[in-house]
């Protein structure tokens, strides 16, 4: 995804509780005892994070497979 695409996507999402648009941020994630940082949309106020379907079935799933050694 290009930066422009990311920008476009950014403006699509709003945090319902805080009423503000989500912004790109560095988010911490963990799996099987390893920690990582990814770029994801997040509410700047309450820090609610969005994981899109693309991310979940794409990068996250692939990283899980590599780490799992199934």
């Amino acid at each position: 995804m290009t930066v422009r695409d990311q920008q476009k996507e950014k403006n699509e999402w709003t945090c319902t509780r805080c009423g503000i648009d989500l912004e790109l941020a560095k988010v911490q994630i963990t799996y099987v005892g390893c920690g990582f940082t990814i770029d994801a949309l997040r509410c700047p106020q309450c820090h609610l994070v969005l994981v899109t379907e693309d991310m979940a079935v794409g990068k996250l799933a692939e990283a899980e497979r590599v780490l799992e050694d199934k």
Binding site: C34, G35, F36
Partner: protein, 242 residues
Amino acid sequence: MLDNCIFMKEAEAVGAAPSSLARPGGLYITHRAVEFCGFTAGDRVADIGCGSCGTLEYLMTTRGICGFGLDPAPSRLTTDARGIWRPQVVRGVAEALPFKDSLLDGLFCECVLSLVDDLDAALLEFSRVLKKGGHLIISDLYDRTSTDVSLPDRIYGQSNLQSALSKRGMEQLLDAHRFMLLVWEDYTMALKELAARLILAGCSPDEFWKQGCRDRTPNPLGRSLMSAKLGYCLVIARSHAP
């Protein structure tokens, strides 16, 4: 909780934020090796394939060791050196080291051996430039699938870039050049972590590996990891050759 996280371990050990060194285990494995070998200021140490001098800087800042760096393309490096102290880097390859006989107390070969064309020539050089009792530190990819002990683990003298050494292959290589194996530690988790990190950052592990290794890759990294053929290890050996 993050007890598998090698970067956390690195931070603890090195006392700093995780290095930008994108190799499995970052500096943690280097730290482990340095601790084990007990290098101190005054020791003569070289880093074969020193890249951006991460290891050399680490040796200087933590142990006060002035090490030599060796790289086939040193021109990329000097711009990355920071501070007043600059590591001494010479151009060269593992198979023909520009060092005198029995000069070094320690020799680092991190993430480099799997790219060397002629392993026997390289090991011959290592054993030449190391003092008797000197330490050889290798960290690299290895082939986890080769368990069949009756097959040759690597064809020596041939540029077999498509395969990484197996554990047994490495043991044979060291033995043939009169190195005594002291430590063998598996850090495959660090390799997987690095691959996962790359995937999450949107890079393909294959592309990254190719870049870092100047297009001379072993089996495409991603696929090998998925089929779990490749692992990562730390090997420390002592030279016995007179």
